[in-house]
Symmetry: C2
Subunit: 340 residues, 2 copies
Amino acid sequence: MWSQNALMSTAPSTSYYRKMSVSRLTPEDLLAARERIKSKVVQTPVMRSDALDKRLGVSIYFKCEQLQVTGSFKYRGASHAVSLLDDECLGVATHSSGNHGAALARAACDRGIPAQVVMPEGAVEFKVEAVKAEGGHVHFCAPTQAAREAGLQGWVDKGFEAVPPYDDDRIIAGQGSCALELIEQVPDLDCIFAPVGGGGLLAGTALAAAGFSRPITVIGAEPAGADDAQRSLELGHRVQNHQPDTIADGLRALIGERNLGLIQQHVSGIITVTEGEIIDAMALIWTELKQVVEPSGSVALAALIRALNDQPEAWSGKNIGLVLSGGNLDVSRLTDAWRQ
Amino acid sequence: MWSQNALMSTAPSTSYYRKMSVSRLTPEDLLAARERIKSKVVQTPVMRSDALDKRLGVSIYFKCEQLQVTGSFKYRGASHAVSLLDDECLGVATHSSGNHGAALARAACDRGIPAQVVMPEGAVEFKVEAVKAEGGHVHFCAPTQAAREAGLQGWVDKGFEAVPPYDDDRIIAGQGSCALELIEQVPDLDCIFAPVGGGGLLAGTALAAAGFSRPITVIGAEPAGADDAQRSLELGHRVQNHQPDTIADGLRALIGERNLGLIQQHVSGIITVTEGEIIDAMALIWTELKQVVEPSGSVALAALIRALNDQPEAWSGKNIGLVLSGGNLDVSRLTDAWRQ
């Protein structure tokens, strides 16, 4: 437990970065992580919408990670992992088809070391360009998990440090800084809704909330078409069959092992939503907040609206933090509709 | 002239609100207007984009009026006009097919009086709904200028106060508050680019800049398909033929009489841009700033890019303020592209 004015632990605690599938992270580790990346990350603003609050009967505090460096929360974890590297480190490597690749490329670039990003053939051109724009070296592989891991292993064998996208304590600790900020920005928060894909953000959020003495409920939000986190939570272990089918491309990953462990401990529940609910929520965010948020970033609002429909008495009147996790999408696909 | 710390004039100066086609507004009137609306309007943030600055070789300060009440700068002028009404005023009336109608409805609602908004049949459904959502009473008329004015006159005859969208000193003075804020927020600004339709925003911007002792160039930005302001400036009087054809629906109005007068006095030039340039600029804003800005709100960036292409030596390295004037568009038209 810590108070909001707790002293930050300044001595780097690296013991929890050992390769194990159960996380040993504590709330104190998140404070230390936040301190390490403070000068790099943007303390993103919290936005409000009177119109949405009135319409939904709650007070929503939107945490704007679309305004984070590289346009998503992923930069928090990536820059934290990079901050812990030895000075002798040759560079970093990962496999990614999305925001983590760009975030890691930027974090590596900030430190002056190369980032090797293995991407599956057929990855969205827009996301490939984003990795390159941040200075990342893109290497294509066959679009299978085995090929991605083999591609990454090749770089690890050459001495590059692997930085996985979510199943990694350095990453989870970094992502937790988002909720630490939010809870400080909104002192009377009752609850936080955050999306879950691999589970880095949700696990970090839950651990951050658990560190405060006042109770803050944490709810995961997941597309019904990629509901492995919810099913894993019900089963008590990671599901084996996972064939994601959702427009929320940032949430297609299978829940990570240590992420699931933290979520089991600290998250109150996961709400799944349909594709239509995701698009409706995205349109609301664009219209009312004037913020470009990608489908994955809109899932938390979709889940809140579903919760308010299903159990209005449980949620009405609450102060709800809601993580808009990113804003990276190929807008040319949309603006082309304007061209004749 | 005033310094940034000039005392605000607190005594309302209403002499300039007489119905005449030449504006008598002074920079001091803008300060007084700003003081009157200070508690109503949002002091909108200024956003930056490292990526855009690097790409274009300038420092751009985006003034985010898409985050203003009702989603556009129009609320500044509307709330100022309403602040000057007598307590006995029955209500306000205007004709509008766009943001001014919604802004006036909101300003009237804030003061507890009704707003009658005459809208042409065939007006965009999205904009009609926006006026209603702000509490405005919508009255349809034939889609001609004569019918719109007749519709408005009917309400004036019933005792409602007419509040025109731009050719009105109360409105121009209110819109000027946007540039007053921007110049205070960015102390070393060299230049401001602002879009021009009827000319309320551009005239207010130019008058605001003229009030500062340090020189700040003001440039208007106009769609080539609605270039009446540029042509009027060249001719020395308002053009007679005006058949606007542009996606920038907020800039289709004919330049106002008194607006043109102020622009002739204080604006350095008007740059026109193609429809393609407007869409390209809009896509850049959505991608790099993650802000939903409508086509009209993207015209200033399009003009800056054109200026940098045509005369790089004149603009490179400058500190440029750029007004993102609004973010109201029917996003369902865009998000529907995601639905299968």
